[in-house]
């Protein structure tokens, strides 16, 4: 049996498949691609009047029947179906791009055509779905919130507002439906606000019972008022919202005051009613009612009920009551207040002459005799001339010294004048200076007043203030540095009279000796020029610059007194010897051996330690020698220079050194110490030879050049060998040959 992969692959089945394929191809050839169509295309047209509008060359999609590629872009074309839509419907593309028209409002574009549009639902089917449940109607500017409520939606369809076609975007006629709900209300509503419902209504806000009148709270009688009373003729939201809130806008025609009281009704009235108005005369008029005004009847002032235009000056009402017959002008309030006419207070300061202090309490007729007010003088002497205790000496401007308080306690501020009062001048009476001439011409120089008292009899000139201060005559302050003799050091502190014995300071001599006596210690020397040693700071220390002489003072010399060296009063200072011995006696331990050139060993810092440099001699000190006293070697007083430099000059040979060892100690010893020895010469035989112990005399009993081993080896070789020649056979000190 022949095996087929599938049961369907029978001969007849394959024939059927081929026939089906041929049939499909045949139908495509005959009818175009319409056999693939899922339904007929819409034959609806858009009309402009009686004329069908042509878009993309056709008046309806039905004319595209069989031309599938008009809308269905091939997969490889890169286009989508929406691109094909806007290829013909260019106006939609423009709306999308510019945000205008319905498609602009809906934010529709080529990618979203299929949200609302469809095809293949038959020749009479609309190409627009626009399901009200999903259509974003709020984007058109009108929300379907209220109209989509179940109870309403049942009776309302798209065509209720868009009669004819949903394409009809003209402002819908709301009234025809809404007047069925409440004809009377609608009639009144349209009468008040007009019939352009969408001017205010957006489908969301009904402005009905729940509307809160927030921008202008409705209180009192406003709460129950008819909306039209205020909003009549406002046909847009903007007009409603900008309705004037001033009272007069609505109530001007009812104004019982006929406009006399202005338009700010709210200052007296409230929305609770016109009656019961409250006027606060203090804040709501320019004339607060104070004192007796508060109690009088309104008509006392508002004669004939004239409420505005009244003057607020006293005279406007009280002119007829003026007992001054107009002499004091019309400004009653400058003296009187609203409480009582009699409670008058005249402010004398407005006359230009304030009544201060003592003037405040005198009776008016003291100044205004015979009730004469005008022309009253304002100068002090105008009233007080007869009381001048200065008899005119101090002029007539009393106020310069006196205040209005009382005549006593006069206090002239002399510092305001050219001559300021300081020091003792403050306490003197005015007349002491001003008795001879009026204040303006009183001289201001010291001698002008004090010439008769000059104790210097004119010798110091007339400019007293060079030395004297106004405090007191004896409070003298001299700038002595302005003179030839400047006061320095201790001179600055002494009293003037220490030097100036008489009243003629300019004649006082300037030499030191003129004031200062020589002390006894100076007697016949030191000359007469004190300043060569002394300064004005103090007598001591005297500061002679010894470095300027041929003998500079150093070390201990700096602290000794002059007389320690300059002992002989008969000898002048310039001739004093500079040799040490001329002052210093040799000490006992020198006994003349050190000569007289002390400076060779000593410095001025101190006698001890001496600092002789032994290295400059033929015998430099090394080792133990450096620590010895000079006198250890230099025992003889004869001379330092003659001492031997050989060791034996000082050191005796010890008993263990045979005399034959010679006197060249340095052959074995150093100056560091006698022991240990440091033999540095030739010694072929080991010095560490057992038994010798490093003691030279054990082998070299007699001389250093010869030796004998007999001390230890006397019996060697039976005593038959020469003991001084052992090394010939035993060069290294060992036994055997």
């Amino acid at each position: 049996m022949r095996t087929r992969p599938l049961g369907c692959m029978t001969f007849t089945a394959l024939v059927a498949a081929v026939i089906a394929l041929l049939a499909i191809v045949g139908v495509i050839v005959v009818t175009g691609n319409s056999m693939f169509s899922p339904g007929a295309l819409s034959a609806l047209t858009v009309t402009d009047g009686a004329q069908a509008v042509s878009t993309g060359g056709v008046t309806s999609h039905a004319q595209l029947e069989g031309r599938c590629d008009a809308c269905h872009a091939a997969i490889w074309s890169g286009q989508k179906m929406g691109d094909r839509c806007v290829a013909c419907h260019a106006d939609v593309a423009t709306q999308s791009a510019t945000g205008t028209g319905l498609h602009g409002k809906l934010d529709a574009n080529a990618a979203t055509c299929l949200r609302c549009h469809t095809e293949h639902h038959g020749a009479t089917a609309s190409t627009t779905l626009a399901d009200p449940r999903v259509f974003p109607h709020e984007q058109t500017g009108f929300v379907l919130t209220a109209h989509a409520q179940p109870a309403v939606a049942a009776a309302v369809g798209c065509r209720s507002c868009h009669p004819g076609s949903p394409r009809d975007y003209k402002v819908p006629d709301c009234v025809s439906c809404h007047q069925k709900l409440d004809a009377a209300k609608m009639a009144k509503h349209t009468d008040t606000y007009g019939a352009q419902c969408l001017n205010c209504h957006d489908g969301k806000d009904t402005y009905g019972h729940a509307f809160v009148h927030t921008t202008y709270a409705l209180t009192g009688k406003h709460a129950g008022a008819d909306c039209a009373s205020c909003h009549k003729g406002s046909t847009t939201l903007a007009a409603l919202r900008t309705t004037s809130t001033t009272c007069a806008t609505c109530h001007a025609k009812n104004d019982v005051h006929q406009g006399r009281l202005g338009q700010s009704c709210g200052t007296c009235h409230t929305p609770d009613g016109w009656t019961g108005a409250q006027l606060d005369h203090g804040t709501q008029t320019t004339f607060p009612l104070a004192g007796k005004h508060a109690a009088v009847a309104c008509e006392s002032c508002h004669v004939n009920r004239q409420w505005s235009g009244l003057g607020t000056t006293c005279a406007s009402c009280h002119k007829k009551d003026d007992p001054h017959a107009g002499k004091f002008g019309a400004d009653c309030a400058s003296c009187h207040n609203a409480s009582d006419w009699k409670d008058a207070k005249f402010d004398h300061s407005i006359t230009g002459f304030s009544l201060a202090q003592a003037h405040a309490s005198v009776s008016c007729d003291k100044c205004h005799a015979n009730k004469r007010f005008a022309g009253t003088p304002t100068t002090c002497v105008g009233c007080h001339a007869s009381q001048d205790k200065h008899n005119g000496v101090l002029g007539n401007r009393c106020e310069q010294c006196h205040s209005a308080t009382q005549w006593a306690n006069a206090s002239y501020n002399h510092n305001a004048a050219a001559f300021k009062l300081v020091g003792a001048h403050v306490g003197v009476t005015c007349e002491r200076c001003h008795s001879k001439a009026p204040p303006a011409s009183t001289v201001t120089t010291c001698v002008g007043c004090h010439a008769a008292k000059d104790v210097h009899n004119g010798s110091m000139g007339s400019v007293c203030e060079t030395c004297h201060k106004p405090t007191a005559w004896m409070d003298v302050k001299v700038n002595h540095n302005a003179f030839a003799f400047k006061l320095t050091g201790a001179h600055a502190g002494v009293a003037c009279s220490q030097c100036h014995k008489d009243s003629s300071p300019r004649n006082t001599p300037t030499a030191c000796a003129a004031c200062h006596n020589k002390p006894a210690s100076h007697d016949s020397h030191f000359g007469g020029v004190c300043s060569s040693c002394h300064t004005t700071k103090a007598w001591r220390p005297a500061a002679f610059n010894h470095a300027a002489t041929s003998y500079k003072l150093t070390g201990a010399h700096l602290s000794v007194t002059c007389l320690k060296c300059h002992t002989n009063p008969s000898v002048t200072y310039t001739g004093a010897s500079t040799v040490c011995a001329s002052c210093h006696k040799k000490p006992a331990n020198h006994t003349g051996a050190m000569g007289s050139n002390c400076g060779q060993c000593h410095t001025t810092r101190g006698w001890s330690p001496s600092t002789f440099n032994h290295s400059t001699t033929s015998f430099p000190l090394t080792g133990a020698h450096t620590k010895l006293l000079c006198t250890k070697c230099h025992t003889s007083p004869t001379s330092f220079g003659g001492l031997p430099t050989s060791c034996v000059g000082c050191h005796n040979k010890p008993s263990n050194h045979p005399s034959s060892y010679g006197t060249v100690c340095t052959l074995c010893h150093t100056t560091t110490a006698w022991l240990p020895i440091h033999y540095t010469g030739p010694h072929t035989f080991p010095m560490t030879h057992h038994g010798a112990g490093g003691v030279c005399a054990n082998c070299h009993a007699a001389t250093l050049s010869g030796y004998s081993c007999a001390k230890c080896h006397a019996n060697a070789h039976g005593g038959s060998r020469d003991q001084s020649k052992c090394a010939s056979c035993h060069p290294d000190g060992r036994g055997g040959d």
């Binding site: 095996t3 087929r4 992969p5 599938l6 049961g7 369907c8 029978t10 007849t12 089945a13 394959l14 024939v15 059927a16 498949a17 026939i19 089906a20 394929l21 499909i24 139908v27 691609n33 319409s34 056999m35 693939f36 169509s37 899922p38 339904g39 007929a40 599938c68 269905h72 091939a74 997969i75 989508k80 179906m81 299929l114």
Partner: protein, 220 residues
Amino acid sequence: MRYSELLIALALVAAITAGYFVMTAATGVPAASGFIGHLMGVVGFALMLLTETLYSLRKRAMRRPRGSMRAWLRLHIVMGIVGPYLVLLHTAWTFNGLAGALSLLTAIVVASGFIGRYIYTAVPRTADGAVVEAQELTVMLEALREADAANPATASAAARAAHRKIERRIRTIERQMAALRWQRRALATWHTIHIPIGMAMFVVGFAHITAALYYATLLR
């Protein structure tokens, strides 16, 4: 059970119908081009393809058989009912052009399937589903008659029941033997109608799918 495959298919169809009505009530008749419509079309067509291929492959898998022929036929019948039903719902009840022709061909194939099923079951088969030849039927009939004679219907209730079962089986085999000749001829004739029309249906179906992909490109 004798009609179990039909009951299973009926249950599935009922469940799908219930879901379809729920959707229709909520959003209207699912459009052929919508997600649900396409889903039904794609799943339905896939089931129809499997209906043909799986059973056909099993029939020829003699060397490595998986499951009985009868079980595969029952699956074939279930899928052959449910698949076309889904495709029918996919049409959204419009029958235009090529898609309409496809619907018609599908209806013919399904209807012929029902007829074929009855012709098929009339042909005597072993428990495995293989066709029993007339000679074997004769042997079986004689064996049953001997058993019937040896087991008279006089004893217990159980014996009487067994007797009635044998009697019914004898009558069936007698009827089958009588009809066997024309039945085999009818089945052969049916095959030459059911399979070619099915083939034509698949060709038209693929043309429909290709056109849909090309023109609507899944409605992009």
